[in-house]
Symmetry: D2
Subunit: 411 residues, 4 copies
């Protein structure tokens, strides 16, 4: 892949600085104690995110482009390595909440020290393409962790019986306009990204042709009210609606409702980042597993879209984030307050090449027993709202901001 | 779907009778005790297979086409229901080996009684298309269980430290001819089955177009010798070769070699249905998990084929079962002594419709966290060797006769 | 310990032969399939008992007193070793039901061959005290396994939804006479056995003094009717009646009634070795865990006896087996149809010495987290009905023939 | 039990105030983050201890003696209830580390508010015996939690790979004088407490007679050096030294050394509350499970004392805490830097009566599958050093300050 030499524009440095500040801003309203706990094995303590994104800078920029590099603290190399086997041992993911040290303050200092070094390094490498690419990836990596931070903070506060609020604004709201079904003819379409000089993750490429059968897809998310109908109609009790292992999962975990709903369905309420609120029946249903989304679609006599269908459809129905005021012109756009589950299991694109070197483990090794989600959500940094972006989670996971978008065959 | 009225030809009745006899023939050399045990949760005792395929006849033919039907034994309805929630409760799969009763003799009598009733019923329904379709499915269902019987018998005998032999002939042998790589141009291909009057399972249809990128695929299976090289090169120790959950699986289960190999790799031997034999380095490596097949392919710098690639390729390289003598003309054919793992996670085809009624649960509910295998194996009944057949297992499972076929991109 | 030389009297050889026959007699009404399965990890398949008691003869008599000894089958040394680490590896206890081979027939032949050798060996060692002691232990060991055989057969048949019957007679019956409370003054008592020339297990000795506070003890077992009152009074729902880990156990296993009772308490029935029968409210409640016995006693405002109290009391209230017709003179005797739980955790007696040599592991290593049961039950061979016998099980176990005997302080 | 009316002397109020201060003092050197985490299910976060001991005051003093009482925060009733079923639901013990809120600061305020109310209440109840008894128990309860605080802080800091230090002084040190074996004649002894007006827990009474066989007991604890000899002699590999479930435990958890020792036995070091230090071979070995203590004793050809033996012996060899300088006159005293395991499973004393009312669950329900420890340790508040005190833990637990004291029979 030939790439022209590019100046590391001020813009990338600026974006780096803004991104780093944004991560701290997200934690501004937390108590020290909130930074430490891990209520679920897949949740990470906020201080871990702040440290891990800094560890990434040390391992992949400072250690590589400024050798011999003396690490800030040798023990951090293990503690804040997420899962990169080529970068040595890592502390078990499910035990991140067992660590009281380093303290939040020490991690803030760690961030500051490493940031200063990075700024210096960036100046020296202004014309180094390899550095530029890794630097850009590091910024994108931290943005990915900002969404995880919000997901994890929601679990930390929302699994506490006191149900403390985080801060305002972050909640899916009623969708403007009526649902519209859009029809797509069968034929050959293009999927994935190929733009040489624009950033993308390895799993989004290469751009390639696919043949799609004709299909219909809806531009609005399923609402809480619609989902409540599914529950009241016995959706969780009807085995025929469920994948076999999904049915085992709801049985053995006694699942009867979305993750953040309260127990009393006669007075339904939902924990949001505002705190607990009455359930807004017209707002999109969120924190839904693949198993639930798939069962709901079957109950409706429809199905989930494939990732290819959603990507094709989002060319003519662009992704719209909730924070924009909805204009009449948004009517034909996808409501993108929540990631939507696709029926596509996460697999490599034809011709997929994983990153070389240390980042080889970034995406490819997770391409097994996960499903692709498309679109974006209220917690997604703006630049990550891309048609070609591939998010992925296990079919029973629910702590991300996930919702339901329906498709159907052309009969 | 309009289907012409067909006479239940003598051939189908004959095939039924032969199939039923064949199931007993497969058990002929077993001791009574071998019919009862269940060394792994996914293995079923042979007597359970013999009873379950009979239960299928009672529930889906006798009870449906000859009401009011008095079941042979009410308790069998629960004991030998595999997983059909619409047909009532079922005994837990992992507890099948806890049942000493009914005895093997009682199950043989059960088979005979039900078979006689089916023969009578078939005569009466000679012109009933609905009956014909279900009858044909029931025969195919029993054939599927014949392969499971051989898989399960192999575990039952092979996990016993005495390593008793089953009987001769069933073992992959050296492949004739040299491996050939065949190239396929990119373009639109057709996948799946559509033949209206020929039997197929619901998951094989509808026939539909796919766009494939150009690819190369090899017509020979990977050998024990090649796999031994992978082991000796540290394949099981190199985390970068493995899917993340595959690596967790080999670590926590201390996996270091294929399922039936002995421990001592300096004098490698393999349990076969013949008993334990020296490892034939030139024979295909078998009883391989998806995780191992995928890691091996990565070690080779190649990849597994997709299910679409394999199906397309098998048009010009037909599937050849081992029991045929290999002629020079077989050279361009797929060696089909073992099912081959594809990189395709098991999903519904576009426009997929699950069987209606009681059989709705036959296939669709398993389309999650499984991978497709194509081809066939030495234990597969001949009629099931079809380009469009979709077999599926979990990525860590190894008790089926599975092997490795490689593909690569056109660079 | 000095012991006089004794002739291995014909009586011991005769007892050996009778005991061996009795083990087979217990299995006479079983189907081959019943010999093989293992519905619970702590249950052993009947064929395993038959083989293990033979393995014991090979390892501890033939191999020791007739060297160099060629074992019947080398693989049996591992397969039928229960847990003796000094005698090499052993097959995991919870996997005994995974073994179809050796067959039942092979094990019957194994028994016959080894028995013949033992008879010959016994003749040669008629004046060998060491042999005599081991021989006597081996006979007692097989008798212990006869009770286990009955316990295990009951689980095998009773956990099968067909609830097949075993054979008649083995069921606790209504106790003759009224319950009598007997009072014992505080003071120094003697516990354990010391008779030099009479057989006992290592855990029963040495005889030693204990100081007991005054107490009352009842000579009749708690009945099904009394236990049903406990249930109907909410006994399983009242946390205050239960040991902490006992309460966790009933909660996580959803325990609400004795092991073999049916679900419908409005028409209570009980699986017995006769098959399922209506619950006899006047017969003793059986298959009770320590946790349940202890909770019941607390509900009554009483307590379980200590093992010392029971042993002291059984001097003036002898143990009476159910098979004897109860005469008026039995009124002051202990009803011994069921083992009774004591509140004593299983510990070594002061001055306890475990067997030397290979049998060191026979008893001592289990003296942790088990409770002592005293008396005997309808499945206990007659010679094992001894005041000093110490039976022991884990507090949640219920597959033995266990019941409830109450004691109370003198207030 | 008749008790004279007593004035709640200033001394008890003073002791309350001192005790409350002492709990905070113990936490003085902690970071906020250290108050929150729970590295093991049996460890509680320090902030939980601070809150729970305050909850105890609310539930058992304020709510009872000052009705109608408005609780500080309704949610605390569940969050800080440890296990008292009669006092409502409780948050699961193993999930205490999932709670970031209430914050440490909120808990400090909670403590202060409740303390003030208690002081007022105590003045009003100066002549109320019932109040006095409960108040005294509450103080003792908090003292018990002070030792738990130190145990838990050690795990929190010691399981962090940074191995931060807590503060000085708390470490077992070399024992003065040579080990002395003391002999006790067989006979009747008195055990337990009966002093009517002196505080004791319900499990320490009633005072009662026991008959002991003659025995020898040693007044010094086993040292690190002696324990290292056991390891080097293969102690962890010799199955014959271990209880059966203890051997399973070391195998499945790969236990090869005491809890806080480092991995490298060629340069042995130990985490202490000072931080990691070279192992002092002459200091007592600590953080030992019952299984290890029992195996060590067997390796020495000796045994652990019973709780009765230790209690009898401590009449003539008084308990001496490490913080006192050892005078020559201490030579005949028990070294009590560490709790010592006894071979006695934790059972009720004859005539035991659990507390009435809400505190019924304080001790009795744990009398199953635990072993008694006697003496005291460097973390034990001084008043709890009593001959009659009964500490108890599960046989595999190691996070308490436990050591080994040996006894032997008189042969």
């Amino acid at each position: 892949m030939e790439i022209e030499a590019r100046e590391i524009s001020g813009p990338l440095e600026n974006r780096f600085i803004k991104t780093r500040k944004q991560s701290l801003l997200l934690c501004e309203s937390l108590e020290v104690e909130d930074f430490v706990v891990q209520p679920l094995p897949e949740v990470s303590p906020p201080k871990w995110h702040l440290a891990h994104t800094t560890w990434f800078l040390e391992e992949l920029l400072l250690n590589k482009f400024q050798p011999p590099y003396k690490f800030h603290n040798e023990s951090y190399r293990k503690l804040f390595n997420s899962y990169y086997k080529t970068l040595g041992e890592h502390w078990p993911q499910s035990n991140r909440g067992q660590l009281s040290r380093p303290t939040v303050l020490e991690i803030y200092k760690y961030r500051q020290t490493v940031e200063d070094e990075i700024i210096n390094l960036a100046v020296l490498n202004r014309w180094n393409n390899e550095f530029h690419d890794m630097f850009e990836l590091a910024v994108n990596h931290e943005e990915q962790h900002q969404e995880l931070l919000l997901m994890d903070i929601k679990v930390i506060l929302g699994s506490n019986p006191q149900l403390p609020a985080y801060k305002q604004k972050l909640r899916p709201t009623v969708q403007s306009g009526k649902p519209e079904w859009k029809f797509f003819e069968e034929g050959v379409y293009q999927i994935g990204t190929s733009e040489k000089n624009s950033f993308h993750f390895d799993n989004e490429s290469p751009r390639h042709k696919v043949y799609l059968q004709s299909f219909h897809i809806c531009n609005k998310l399923i609402t809480n009210g619609e989902y409540l109908n599914f529950i009241n109609d016995g959706g969780y009790r009807n085995a025929l609606l469920w994948k076999s292992i999904g049915h085992d999962w709801i049985r053995s975990n006694n699942i009867k409702k979305p993750y953040y709903w309260n127990k009393d369905l006669s007075a339904p309420a939902e924990y949001t980042l505002y705190g607990e609120n009455d359930l807004d029946l017209n707002a999109p249903v969120s924190h839904i597993s693949y198993f639930e989304a798939d069962a709901f679609a079957r109950w409706m006599g429809m199905r989930l879209p494939t990732e290819q269908e959603f990507e094709v459809a989002s060319e003519s129905m662009p992704l719209v984030q909730r924070e924009f005021i909805f204009h009449p012109s948004d009517c034909g756009a996808f409501n993108s307050q929540l990631w939507v589950w696709t029926q596509s299991q996460y697999s490599p694109y034809p011709g997929y090449r994983a990153y070389a070197g240390e980042l080889n483990e970034y995406n490819g090794k997770f391409m097994c027993n996960q499903f692709v989600l498309k679109g974006g959500c209220i917690a997604t940094p703006k630049r990550h709202y891309k048609r070609t972006y591939r998010n992925f989670f296990e079919p029973q996971q629910r702590w991300m901001f996930s919702g339901i978008c329906l498709a159907k065959d052309d009969l």
